[in-house]
Each structure stands twice: as C-alpha cells, then as structure tokens.
C-alpha cells in the first residue's frame, strides 16, 4: 500500500500520462459517486470529475505518498467543488459547509429527479434516493465516504478538512438524519 502510494507520488511528479490513465480507470467510479453525492447534480459532478484529474496532474508534486491516494484525490475534488460553488454560483464556502444553509444551494431542484433517483432500481434504493438529497451536503459527504468508500474516520476528517471529532459528529447526525428521512419516506 505504502509502496504503491510512493509510486503514484513519483509518477505524479513526473506527470506520467500512463499513470494518470491507470488512476482514472481505477478511481473514476468512486470519484464520480462522491462528486454526485457532494454536488447533488450529475452534470456538475461530471464537470468537476474532469477538472479534478487536471488538478491532480498540476498539483501532483504536492502528494507525498504518505497518505492514501484516494483521500488526497477526494480532498482535491472537494476543494474544487467548494471553489466552484463559491465563484460560479455565488454561494459562500460557509453555505456549502454549514448544514443549515446548504440545502438551498445543493438540493436538486424540485420536481426534477436526482441522479440517485434516476439510477435507483430497487425499492430500498428508491427510498434512499428520495432521502439522500434532502440531507445537507456535509452529511451526505461523510455518509458516502464512510459507508460507500469505507474510509476510516481519520481519512474522512482529512478529506473534509475537519477535526476527527467534527467528522464523527457529522457522521452521527448524518446517519440519524438519513434514518429519519427514510422512515419519513415510509410513512
């Protein structure tokens, strides 16, 4: 694992195009899924997906190979989305990071199915697809990192740029909110 990360760091420093190909092939699904959960918008997530890889190339020398590559990758993607919201949409950084304010900026427009709704095939997935976009972005993010990416709490904190206790607190609140939203969808 550590050796692999070191190899990635070396390749990124050299701007190795073959390494980039392999990394995109390997992480494209997880990165896109994370970006969709973060933005709640498939088109935006796909744009951010493209840009993330260019940023990975340009900032490759900053990756030291000591931390896991996916944490670093997701962290780059996250910063990109935050910058995008701040600059293009006129939404402040706080609006994206504070649960009370981000609903308006990140929720899927009313009447339109979310990307998750579109892909839901089973009853439970449909229920989840309805519930997930109603959660604040910061909760969606940590839930996805924990339960889809199976990241450790420390890694989640690193990606989200918060302390371990904040990451934990978001996870507890997010899980509670998700359960309530699903429960509400059943009623």
């Amino acid at each position: 694992m550590r050796q692999e990360c070191a190899e990635i760091a070396r390749g990124l420093r050299k701007h190795d195009p073959d390494l980039l190909d392999r990394l995109i092939e390997r992480y494209h699904y997880r990165l896109l899924r994370y970006l969709i959960s973060l933005t709640g918008d498939r088109a935006l997530a796909e744009d951010a997906f493209q840009e993330t890889w260019l940023h990975v190339l340009e900032r490759g020398s900053q990756y030291n190979g000591r931390a896991s590559f996916e944490s670093w990758l997701f962290s780059i993607a996250r910063h990109l989305v935050i910058d995008w919201f701040r600059k293009k949409k006129g939404v402040s950084l706080e609006a994206l990071t504070e649960p009370d304010d981000d609903r308006a900026s990140l929720q899927v427009p009313a009447g339109q199915p979310s990307p998750l709704e579109l892909v839901a095939e089973q009853e439970e997935a449909e229920r989840l697809a309805r519930a997930l976009p109603s959660l604040p972005a910061v909760y969606r993010e940590v839930l996805v990192l924990r339960f889809q990416e199976e990241m450790k709490l420390e890694e989640i904190a690193a990606v989200a740029g918060v302390t371990l206790s904040t990451a934990k607190s978001r996870l507890y609140r997010g899980l509670e909110a998700l359960r309530r939203a699903i429960e509400g969808g059943r009623a």
Partner: protein
C-alpha cells in the same frame, strides 16, 4: 424501561456502525433490542439505510471517462514539455548561484581594488558590485520571459485557474 435506556440504545445503534462497540456495549444493546420493539425497529432501519447506501449504483458515462483521460494525457504532455524547457534554466541557475557564492569574496576585493585605484567613492564601487551580483537573476528573469513568450511556458492553465474556478 426508562427514557434514558432508549436514548442509550439509540446512541449505541449509531455508534455500532460508526466507531464500533465494546463487547459489553454490544451485549447490552443486543439484550435491549431483544426486549424493545421500538429500538429494534430503529436498529433495523439504520442497518437498512446503510445497506441501501452501500448498494447505490451510479451509472458512468464512458465518454466522460474517455474525455478525462484524453484531457489529462494532453495536459501531462504539456507539463512534461514545460519541465523539459525549464530544466536547462534550473541547471543554469544552480550553476550560476554556485559560481556566485564561490567567487563573491574575490570579486568584492576586485571591486574594492578597482574603486580605490580609480579613487571612486565606496558607495559607487559597492553599487557596481551589487549590480554585478544581480546579473544572474536578471538573466534568469529575461530567459523566463522569453520562454513564456516564445513557447508558452505557462500556457493553458496553472494552479488554481481551471475553468471551473475562473
């Protein structure tokens, strides 16, 4: 059962999935869930929500992946070219810095000698020395500017200026 007991169970249900439980806590929770239908339903719902979250599938448009690969490859080639263009400049910089460091005491004395021989005020020959000292940096700056204009050293994007941000 008291309200505190249910609240504790609620906390442990979530913690089981986030941080894990100690054997004693797990034992207590399992015993509670066996006797409390409301908390058992809550635990079931939480497990179900997590299972659904894990099962979410996101269809990937292969064109998006291909485009990302193509753009990354193109940018990698650009960055490699830039690195190649910069390499001689770096070598020249390091070399000139070394020369400067090694020769400074001698040149200082030489300038002093010339200044005294020509009866120049100390300020003049010292300024001359400083000017000589700044030559490599000036040459490097000119070379960078020239490279940028001729070959587009910093063409395309640079850090923090991607289309999404700009």
């Amino acid at each position: 059962m008291s309200r505190d007991t249910h609240e504790r169970a609620g906390r442990l249900i979530n913690r089981r999935h986030i941080e894990g439980l100690s054997p004693a806590e797990r034992q207590w929770l399992d015993a509670h869930l066996e006797s409390c239908g409301v908390c058992a339903e809550r635990a079931h719902l939480t497990t179900e929500a997590i299972a659904s979250l894990r099962a979410v599938a996101v269809p990937v448009n292969p064109a998006v992946v291909s485009m990302a690969k193509a753009r990354a490859r193109m940018r990698a080639v650009e960055l490699r070219r830039r690195d190649e263009r910069l390499r001689p400049l770096w070598i020249a910089c390091v070399f000139s810095c070394l020369i400067m460091l090694l020769t400074t005491p001698y040149f200082w004395r030489a300038f002093e000698w010339v200044g005294q021989a020509m009866r120049l005020p100390a300020l003049v020959w010292q300024a001359g020395f400083l000017l000589w000292w700044s030559v490599p940096a000036t040459v490097a700056a000119i070379a960078l500017l020239w490279l940028e204009r001729s070959g587009g050293l910093f063409n395309g994007r640079h850090e923090g200026a991607g289309p999404l941000e700009g």
